[in-house]
Symmetry: C2
Subunit: 408 residues, 2 copies
DNA sequence: ATTAATTTTGTGGATTTCCACAAAATCATG
DNA sequence: CATGATTTTGTGGAAATCCACAAAATTAAT
């Protein structure tokens, strides 16, 4: 009765059997669109399938199209086979697809290419049986993977916390754990609005496994945070690549799964794996600073872009020791208190806007001349020369530092 | 024969005796123009003398006049009495003055006011005898002072190196050593071109004791450096007061004694005596930074004015750890090397001149449009927004820091 | 040596900034 | 609440900055 009720030695054998029964090419993917097995009978194959087999994963643009078309959401919501119309822009022919379920979780997909004739009810029924049969085969894979996962997680945390001191040791360890090694990497942290629940983890895993903007050899989740190692393809536009990845990850989490990612940040890009710890700390610094200076650092994602805020932790420490007290700032604060004025706010905004009078006036909703007058007063009261870069830098840092101190 | 060849219980008694013999008011000062004794017979007294007695020191403007008139140089060069013409601007009447010598050192001065009749040869002779007699009396004072000096020196070094942790302990110690206590103080360091020789020490002592711009309760000399505690009169213009003192000290050392003081600097002004250590470190930092950034910090004397350079030591340390590597700066350096251009110099000068195109162009001897072009290139190559204060600050600091690192 | 790319300098005009002055509004204080 | 001091806003013109374009000079690379 059921043509798949026998033992299969491998998934490949299974794929071939399904292909034989249904008389069409078959591809089996895991939940992250990685290729698990494919049939090898001689049949017509569309370009999307060829690419998938060569790369051992579904090309990202194909995945994106399938999301846009609503195919994947449908597959994730029920276990019925569906017909997928050709999407010629990405080389996808007419297909039939079905998801493979274990309890309420999707383990993977079976794709069949629809040949000349449209499918009969019987064929659909057979495919459903195949999906059921695939479940057990896939489960074994899952379990194997799961055990390995834990060791990998531990390894990643060791990397993040600077447990290893030799690059070569790390590389060797990667080989043992079968973690791919890349020449450049940077630590990325995403902060989620809600604590990350197990079902969200699957969606994160999905996005990370499917993205092709960069490789994500390692990631870990705890509480609100997703921390991952990102390996950009080239060194040339590495920064830009990671930035793009951040943007699209946040957008996709939101669009596809309605999961809000509050913030994302990444550290410098290093070649040596021992620097992962540093990159991790940098990424954390970026997040901390963004929290303290959301207004100033709204568009900042990388440690490089943090600019002077890079050394705020360090400076705050010294400031706490009572070092660099700023006479100018104190005088301005004093004046503000005594006359409930807002010279500090004024100078801060002025410096925020690169000493541009008009922009600053607009930002403060005051007449440019008013600003000019205030600046004259600031120069007098604070005994500062507003055309002296050194003095301005010191004041700017001290103003921001005072805010930072207040927020800590 | 010699009317002074008896024992005197005190210098006051001596002064009265001289006054009696010469029939005129007598004032005795030490080498630093501090009042040591004065006669109390009823005689006419000029305003300068009154002021001297009230303040227990010769008013600074009087000292300055006497220097300008060449009186004091003459007194310091030989032991003959000289006639000093009236200087009415400073309330000085006609005087006769003589210096008191021990070996080749001047211990002090005797001043006599010339009454109606001009002095006879005999009177001059008597004054010379008085000066000789004063020597022994003054010597006792010197010796007493000298022993105390050593303990005071040690105490000062303890203050500078943070040996005490309680303000009250320090104050008490000051009382024991008879060191006056002031509400505000700051550590000042002068760097001399030549190593400071013993005879120069006397001249330093002289200047410090006679200055009235501020009090100098403690000072110490080693090698090229004079380190002192400066107590400004009021808190209001304390900074300005100390700055004026620095300027005039350096000028006077040069004008009066032809001694070159290369540099002077001072730390923050603190109320608590335990902060003297900090002020000392700050003053040292100022000197160090001025050496490294002579071009940028030519006019800087105080820690406050150091601005962002205040935290360069700290930053350099971190930089050495490989933290904050600046992508922009590296790219510009790279470009400079590859094309022997001078983008780094250009941006540095630009920022030095507060982002003013015209000034910068002038400083670099290039056409303003050339500068504009270079800035456009810098923005492109360094991927920096030259209207973003944060980025500019970071770059500015990194440029200067790179220089600092190179110089260390 | 030639060519292409890059850099420097020049010109003119639109725009913005800077300043001085004055009037109006607001604030502080007795 | 009256008064003077301080702050805000308005106006107009001189000065500067910015920008686009083009020519000249320099440099790099074949």
């Amino acid at each position: 009765m059921n043509p798949f009720a026998t033992h299969f030695d491998s998934l490949e054998e299974f794929a071939d059997r399904v292909s034989e029964v249904l008389q069409c090419p078959i591809t089996i993917e895991d939940a992250n669109h990685r290729l698990i097995a494919y049939s090898t009978h001689e049949h017509y194959t569309d370009p999307a399938r060829t690419a998938t087999i060569i790369n051992r994963r579904v090309p990202e643009k194909v995945i994106n199209s399938l999301w846009r078309e609503g195919v994947i959401p449908k597959l994730l919501s029920n276990s019925e086979p569906i017909r997928v119309e050709m999407i010629s822009e990405v080389g996808l022919g007419n297909r039939i697809a079905i998801s493979i379920w274990k309890n309420k979780e999707v383990l993977g997909f079976i794709w069949a290419i629809e040949m000349e004739q449209t499918w009969t009810e019987e064929q659909f029924e057979l495919l459903k049986q195949a999906a059921k049969a695939a479940k057990n085969l896939l489960l074994q894979l899952q379990i194997r993977k799961h055990k390995k996962e834990e060791r990998i997680q531990e390894f990643f945390w060791k990397l993040l916390t600077g447990h290893f001191s030799s690059h070569n040791d790390i590389i060797q360890q990667c080989h043992v754990l079968n973690i791919p090694v890349y020449p450049f990497s940077s630590v990325v942290i995403f902060h989620f609005k809600q604590e990350i629940q197990p079902q969200v983890e699957r969606q994160i895993d999905y996005l990370l496994k499917t993205t092709q903007q960069l490789a994500v050899p390692l990631y870990t989740i705890d509480h609100h945070r997703l921390t991952l190692l990102a390996a950009p393809k080239s060194n040339a536009n590495a920064q830009a690549d990671i930035k793009r990845f951040l943007r699209s990850f946040i957008a996709q989490m939101n669009e596809r799964f309605r999961i809000e990612v509050t913030d994302g940040a990444f550290g410098s890009i290093y070649e040596c794996y021992t620097k992962i710890e540093k990159s991790y700390k940098e990424a954390q610094t970026v997040l901390n600073m963004k929290r303290a200076f959301s207004h100033d650092l709204g568009n900042v994602q990388s440690y490089q872009e943090l600019g002077m805020y890079q050394f705020f932790d360090l400076l705050l420490e010294k400031k706490r020791d009572g070092d660099f007290y700023n006479e100018t700032l104190e005088k301005l604060k004093q004046y503000d208190n005594r006359h409930h004025a807002s010279l500090v706010k004024t100078i801060e905004t002025f410096l925020d806007h690169d000493s541009n009078v008009n922009e600053t006036a607009k930002a403060l909703n005051i007449h440019p001349n008013t600003l000019a007058y205030r600046l004259k007063r600031i120069a007098e009261i604070g005994e500062i020369d507003l055309h002296d870069m050194n003095q301005k830098v010191k004041l700017y840092i001290d103003v921001k530092l005072a805010k930072y101190e207040a927020s800590h």
